[in-house]
């Protein structure tokens, strides 16, 4: 057979190969050890130099053409096989991916983090104290002696140790004992907030026997009511993220402050519900005042030298006002549906740069 005929045969066969296996068989038939093309190449060895010089390029061209054709066909067959495999691997990606549970941070924790952030900017550290408190820290040191009528306003829970040891204690009725512990534990100037759990023997939609308060206190030289007013305005503006916060200060009475000031914040009615800001009406949000000289003296400080202000409010209430819950009892029920609705993402970390509202 001539090389031309062989080339034509082989190229036709390669072109019509439909599988990689058939192609490989063809490759062996043509280019294998005793393949038809190989035999031509081998025959060169028996030729004289002159003939070889003439014939070799023809044979090599034949081999080259066949090899190239096989390679091209192989690439094409492989591409077709891949395309066929991919076509067979089609899946329905509308099926759900593995789901991980969402998780949530309780609104109380969120609001406490927000408050810590705001007050850190104003230079207030976070102070803490025990919840099972003694009578002196919870009442007497705060200028509420045993027979004081204000004690009746506190609906105190009393606790005793089951083993009979120790005195009768109270579940702290407010976070104010932390004022006392702070003043006794460190030297002024002092700027603290004290968020925490408090207890009153009371229960309805807006009162639960356990709730959360935050206390703030500044003790320094030359601190007066004007500083208190500024601090509360600044804090409420930052917390509610509104500039139109209006405060109304009213004289009031707390045994541990003198003068005592009740603070109302203005609200407006938006779509039938109350929104902080504006002055369509007033709601009570804070109790405050200048720390009573007797309280300062009770902590071993000289009231002639040191004075300052204190304020307190409900963390739960702040959360409700900001985030719109209307039943306090649900805060302590751990209902997964409530958590999903009112809880916060772990990533909602309040920051000054990102804003303190989630």
């Amino acid at each position: 057979m001539t090389t031309d005929a062989l080339r034509a045969d082989l190229l036709a066969a390669i072109d019509s190969a439909t599988t990689l296996e058939a192609l490989e068989a063809l490759r062996v038939t043509a280019l294998g050890k005793s393949g038809s093309v190989t035999l031509f190449m081998k025959s060169l060895g028996g030729m004289d130099a002159e003939a070889r010089l003439l014939i070799a390029p023809v044979f090599q061209a034949l081999r080259e053409a066949v090899a190239t054709a096989i390679e091209a066909k192989k690439t094409a067959l492989e591409a077709a096989a891949l395309a066929a495999r991919l076509a067979s691997e089609q899946i329905d990606l509308s099926l759900p991916a593995a789901q991980s549970p969402r998780g949530s941070v309780h609104p109380i924790s969120q609001v406490m983090d927000e408050l810590s952030e705001i007050f850190a900017d104003l230079g207030f550290a976070v102070a803490e104290g025990p919840e099972i408190e003694d009578d002196w820290h919870n009442f007497t040191a705060l200028n509420i002696p045993p027979e004081h009528p204000a004690r009746a306003m506190h609906d105190t829970f009393y606790v005793r140790r089951e083993d009979g040891e120790g005195e009768r204690m109270v579940l702290r009725t407010h976070t104010s004992p932390v004022q006392i512990r702070t003043m006794m534990g460190q030297k002024p100037p002092i700027r603290i907030i004290a968020p925490g759990r408090v207890y009153r023997s009371d229960s309805d939609a807006t009162h639960t026997p356990m709730f959360h308060q935050i206390e703030g206190m500044v003790i320094d030289r030359g601190i007066h009511l004007g500083h208190l007013k500024w601090t509360l305005e600044t804090f409420l503006k930052a917390f509610f993220e509104r500039d139109d916060i209006q405060l109304r200060l009213r004289p009031s009475y707390f045994p541990f402050t003198e003068p005592s000031v009740e603070v109302d914040v203005g609200y407006s009615i938006v779509n039938g519900s109350r929104v902080i800001g504006g002055a369509d009406g007033w709601m009570e949000v804070l109790g405050s005042g200048m720390v009573h000289p007797r309280v300062i003296a009770n902590c071993g400080l000289d009231p002639a030298e040191w004075q300052g202000f204190a304020f307190g409010t409900g963390v739960d209430r702040l959360a409700m006002l900001k985030y719109g819950m209307d039943d306090l009892r649900a805060f302590f029920d751990a209902d997964f549906r409530w958590q999903r609705h009112y809880g916060f993402s772990a990533l909602d970390v309040p920051t000054l740069s990102g804003g303190v509202g989630a």
Partner: protein, 794 residues
Amino acid sequence: MKFPLSWLKRYLETEADAPAIAEALTRLGLEVESVTNAAEALAPFVIARVLTAAPHPQADKLQVLTVDRGDGQALQVVCGAPNARAGLVGVFGPPGAHVPGLGVTLKVAAIRGVESNGMMCSARELQLGEDHDGILDLPADAPVGEIYADWAGLNDPVFDVAITPNRQDCMGVYGIARDLAAAGIGTLRALDIPTFADAAPCPVAIATADPEGCPAFLARHVRGVQNGPSPDWLQALLVKAGLRPISALVDITNYFTIGHGRPLHVYDVAKLTGGLTARRAVDGESLLALNGKTYTLDPSMTVIADDAHVHDIGGIMGGAESGVSPETTDVLIEAAYFAAERIGATGRALGISSDARARFERGVDPAFVAPGLDLAAAMIVALCGGQVSAMAQAGELPVPGKLLAFDPQQTRTLAGIDVPVTEQLAHLARLGFAVSGEAKPYAVAIPSWRRDVDGSADLVEEIVRLHGLDRVESVALPRREGVAQATATPRQLLERRLKRLLAARGLDEAITWSFISEAEAACFGGHAWRLENPLSAELAVMRPSLLPGMLAATARNTARGAASVRLFQAGRRYLAESERPTLALLLAGEMRARDWQTGKARSVDAFDAKAEVLAALEAAGAPVERLQTVQPASAHYHPGRSAKLVLGKAVLAEFGELHPTVLRTFDVGVPAAGAEIFLDALPERRSKRARAAFAPSALQPVSRDFAFLVPTSVAAEALLRAVKGADKTLDKALIADARVFDRFAGAGVPEGQVSLAIAVTLQPAERTLTDAGLEAVAKAIVAAAGKLGATLRG
């Protein structure tokens, strides 16, 4: 305190209307909780005369009336009242009027086929009383056509004011009037204190044997009174103030309680045996009080008693026996001064809240005991007749007029507001403070009705109160230079971090009550603290663990249809000696729901809890690789499926499946695993800013697998620790990690043993591992495992 505007105006001459007065009260610190005016709801109701009354053709009990409502027309009205008759003058509600007592709005309607154009109303329908026997029957001369509420004097706004415990003076309308007058809302009317010339001595002997509880006891006797109903004006005042009129004598004492903050008591002298003495109660003495309840008294309480027995719990509530009745003819009016502290203690001990207690507890004006008595005696004579005796007095009244030194500069330094000195002094004078002295400090005498004022800061408060708290200007707190400093303590940061970690891992934060039931606490080793006055048995003891509350929440959530509960909580456990900060977590039900990829659902187990605990401990910076797992944990866990995580001697956490008995107690019907991390036991995270130098090895790590047969008594953790430490016998540290990747027991593994397959990662530091080097490590590993009784599996 509730009182109508008309009562205030008895003491205050003012043109101010109710909103202006309410505004002023709030500004003064007398918080107005509400202002209501009964007339507003009754505005459409007019006085009307029944012209004719005829039987209803279709109904026996109804009548068809024609009514003149002032326009001279005869309006047809169907009426069911038995007293409806021609000529009756009553109250008519036209169509469109809302009847408050029925909650309906009237319209023209046919009643049993007869058109009715409105309604003749009863007292109850207008919410003016309980009477519903018939329609209102007014005097014949009542002006037809006039608005009924105006004619009846109902157009009288009623203030409800919250009086703070310090304001003894404002527990009477007169004191409120005084505050308003000081604030420029009108002029206070002076009281005209009567005198009783040529009065006979008081025939009833009085004494105080308890000068501490009852320093002074004043009284007058009135002979020959007639105790009928009190006049309309007095009854109307009391009703508007929320009191029930009883009889003239009782109403008069109530008038002085509400009007002047001066509680009095009136005894029927005929019921007394001998004189009256203020004394301590004797143990076991009891009294049937005016509220119909019997109280057992003890010697801490001050009482008023005659020679026979107790008649009055001093300053709190009188006795039923010697109370006045319509038959009473001779009375003794008691005006005493009781010690405020004693009243508070007695009132709390007996659980009695009364108008008298509320006033004595805050303290009454010692300078108004005698004037109050005199005014009351005069009113008794005016309304009930009788002869007043001379005043009898036992004991001594405290002398008011305490002096305070006051420097007006303090208003600036404490309140941050500039008020001219003359203005400051004028404010004080208007409130009854007597200022003397020419220069600072001034001497300021406290009025007898302000025992709450006892320091110069109180005076500043009075001045600011009158001057206007709203005039205080905001002043920025001084701010330290630079960016705000970090303020949170390491513990606070830790708690914040862990909360967010667990939330990110898919757990929901719960906050549950700090108090639980005794039975719940018993499952967790019992409680250390018990509430003396719990709201309920469910909230009776302080929790020794955070898990009970979370288990209860789990049961609730499961009942609500949650297939998977994943809760965490940061809070305190209340132990005998201290409150321990704790982070708890609880997983219950499905850990993984059934799914098209993974197949059947998987329930939670102890390892799920372990994973969360270790993630939290790692985030807390605890040396997780050095922790020892010690089985079992506390008794509320499954004894075979729980463990403590221990560092040295400190137990950092417990985790495991909850004990089936505990789950049953809490009604949790699904598998549950929990954990508690004892935050106070965690080693403090050391803050390291700069990290150690980092030089990653350029050499390839090598992984080798070992399968050991291990006695089941050997913990996998011990084997791993031995394997990891095996290179200690070599001259170079090589073992970077060792991990269990398979565990098998059963066919092919001898009884009492388990096969543990461990993948060991070797990381050479200086040069590539040679075969000899590899073999040496492998030998060391097998040897180390061998010490625990592990053999290489053939």
